[in-house]
Symmetry: C2
Subunit: 451 residues, 2 copies
């Protein structure tokens, strides 16, 4: 036998039971809100055909998809010639890849099941995604996304409910100083139109997204180096420096699509002025572009001020995603929660409830096979009443068993030796108070249930 | 834009919301039992190093592992020569693979975290595994396993609790005619020893596992063709025809390890004679071998008579699994539930509870943006009380909205038009009875909560 060093691939993580309980706490909170808004859960497989995945996330995204080697004798039909390289070979030996986000598989699902689905279709999905990205704080190669989308309607009420969902979940989790940033792709399209640079929309969107990190001058330098002219950059400057949405609105007067975007934004912003969010702030942010994503209308991104961690989630409206799979004119809108980042924020701000790690209610100490067998039916009865019970598996020294109970956060230890069996009583120790008392065996369940 | 036909890779599945609710019902039942026995949840990543996975599941298993293509310019260090073939190239261009079961990653986890873990360590894990197997009924390429294991003790009480867990979960799910088959590797080792074929243990185990499908003669023919002699096969025949465990026990008198196996089996069987299982039968089965698995002691497998679907789960004791990662003398024992097969059984026997698919409590009809905006704060209030509410997103014809409500299984539709707003009342329709009535707006929540 070759001995293997136990280790994980780069960017992969194990979750211990303490961490799992905290993660489940977040899942439960998100799920509860999603369901209260009438969303139903679906799941799609981890593995999709490469043709489904590729070309949807930009060139960079395509590079980051985990590709699966074809099964069997995958080389048998491959022409290995002098020109072969990693990219051209990959196309021949890898037809499938791991899910990169939840939205593209969702669009595939909708088109594939369009005859079974009632539209508007409201679904949520909480699953892993994989990206072969360079790992860093808050960025992993396998992480959870929790998505809600409505597809099959243009109604801005969907955007409004999605913003409420962000607010609802993050308020329930008690995360302070949350900004839900909002913009509209149409506003950006209008702006780029006025800059006379419509053909460079993607380039400008990608640079604009970096405003937070590299500043206005940085953005302008980058764009200038990519051939965007001085006049255009001066218009961009005016937009970025606009103080509020009405200033942006006046700048956009001459752009039809820009005005459309402003109208949509104003409808949403006005509504939340009359019916405020619970704890989050809704903030118009002209620089929010969300790079090469498939958005066509409203765009959203959640930022928090107290932890330096990037966004906790984002989303927006997409008009053309199902067109990739042959279904036109079906508009959708959705948002995503990044489970792993929310976890880091709750941890860093110490916001997990104190009693979150569920303990074991009772441990039965082990005095030998005879005694343990006697305890089994008692234990069964407790478990059937919803009490979590462990039976220590070996008749070790009682000190070792007590240490184990301590480490596991056991509330009561029950001691039943030969003596106790003969007398029909048991000893019970409250591990928090250290108090130990005797009890009739048949009184145990009552004691545990009522303290 | 190239239009892609929406489709799934072979053996992959989407789960609609009806299916998800049923799957979650099973998960919830399993989780509840696991936790009542004091097991804590952990998770390991989907992707493991190939060196962790390979060599643990036999040659066939190795072939079925999904391999991930290395990232970046993976060919740069590869020597493509005339001898290159699929197998030799795979080793150079794929360092990682998808999890094939939960037990090997668990063993890796235990060794890697041995200094943080309190032994005996009781964990459960409910995650996907992937196998590039030929898909057929009840066999998928991505499926869920739900595993419980105890590691760090030899105590037979663990086997006893695991058998109780099988019984508990399957009784709760009301699956009838469950046989929990039990055997012990030591009994098989003893038998093969008496056959004088110890060096062919694996071959004999693999053939023996096929007894159900190919019969005694089939097994003997197969083994004969693999060089097992006539005398040996006649001993095998005697064992297979033994009527019960005491007959097997007398056959094994001369094998020390065989007697050990019998003792362990008898302890377990006797205990369950005194303290019977709830609905399952515990059945000693000398032909249960579980092929090339890593088991060394007790082996278990769950079979049901009413649906032809293979086993619902299996497990056993393994003494050497952590040795692969450099930690010796740590015995473990565990069982696995196959979620997807349990699902098929519940579906086929019509055992899912009738009310399992959760419906939407209330839908608000949409009479326009003005009216919808008015409804939003009412809706928020209901949702905060745990009621699931949808607002129909568009002011479509009321008939279309009602059809949607019907399809979605909505209980009440609330109608608030301009008129209603002015009068401070609303109309509410009970979708089951068809009854429609008027109500003061502030009385709505009470009506929904109390019917």
């Amino acid at each position: 036998m070759t001995i293997i060093k136990p280790r994980l691939p780069k960017g992969m993580r194990d979750f211990s039971s303490d961490v799992m309980q905290k993660r489940n706490f977040i899942f439960k909170n998100i799920r509860k809100v999603f369901e209260s808004y009438g969303f139903s859960q679906i799941e799609t497989p981890s593995i999709e055909n490469m043709e489904t995945l590729s070309g949807k996330y930009g060139e960079e995204g395509d590079r980051l998809i985990f590709k699966i080697l074809n099964s069997g004798d995958y080389l048998s039909k491959v022409d290995i010639n002098d020109n072969i390289n990693s990219k051209s070979l990959a196309k021949q030996i890898s037809n499938r890849g791991l899910r990169y986000d939840l939205t593209v598989p969702f669009a595939r699902f909708v088109v594939q099941n369009r005859n079974k689905i009632t539209f508007p279709f409201k679904r949520y999905q909480m699953q892993n995604v994989w990206r072969a990205d360079r790992p860093q704080k808050g960025r992993f190669r396998e992480f959870y996304q929790c998505d809600v989308d409505v597809i099959g309607t243009n109604s801005l009420l969907c955007e409004i409910e999605l913003i409420q969902i962000y607010d609802n979940v993050l308020s329930n989790l008690k995360i302070p100083n949350v900004n839900i940033c909002i913009n509209n792709r149409k506003v950006l399209v209008g702006m780029v139109e006025l800059m006379g640079e419509s053909q460079s929309f993607d380039t400008i969107a990608v640079s604009l997204d970096k405003l937070d990190s590299i500043g206005i001058e940085g953005v302008k330098n980058e764009l200038s180096s990519k051939g965007i002219g001085k006049d255009a950059l001066s218009i961009l400057d005016t937009f970025i420096n606009a103080k509020n949405i009405s200033e942006v609105s006046s700048l956009l007067q001459k752009s039809k699509i820009g005005c459309e975007g402003i109208q949509e934004l104003e409808f949403i912003l006005n509504l939340f002025e009359k019916q405020p969010l619970r704890t989050s702030s809704l903030v118009f942010d002209i620089s929010l572009a969300r790079g090469l994503d498939y958005y066509t209308g409203c765009i959203l991104e959640v930022k928090i001020n107290d932890v330096n961690i990037g966004s906790l989630g984002g989303g927006g409206r997409y008009d053309d995603l199902t067109s990739n799979f042959g279904l036109n004119d079906v508009s959708g809108v959705g948002i995503s929660f990044g489970l792993d980042r929310i976890y880091l924020v709750l941890e860093e701000l110490n916001l997990f409830p104190k009693n979150i790690t569920k303990n074991i209610d009772v441990m039965f100490a082990n005095f030998g096979m005879e005694e343990a067998s006697f305890c089994l039916s008692l234990i069964k009865d407790l478990r059937d009443s919803g009490i979590s019970v462990e039976l220590y598996p070996d008749a070790e020294k009682i000190k070792k068993q007590m240490n184990y109970a301590n480490n596991r956060g056991v509330k009561y230890v029950v001691l039943i030796g030969e003596n106790e069996i003969n007398r029909g009583i048991l000893s019970i120790k409250n591990m928090a108070s250290g108090e130990q008392s005797d009890l009739k065996i048949e009184a145990l369940k009552n004691k545990i249930l009522n303290g």
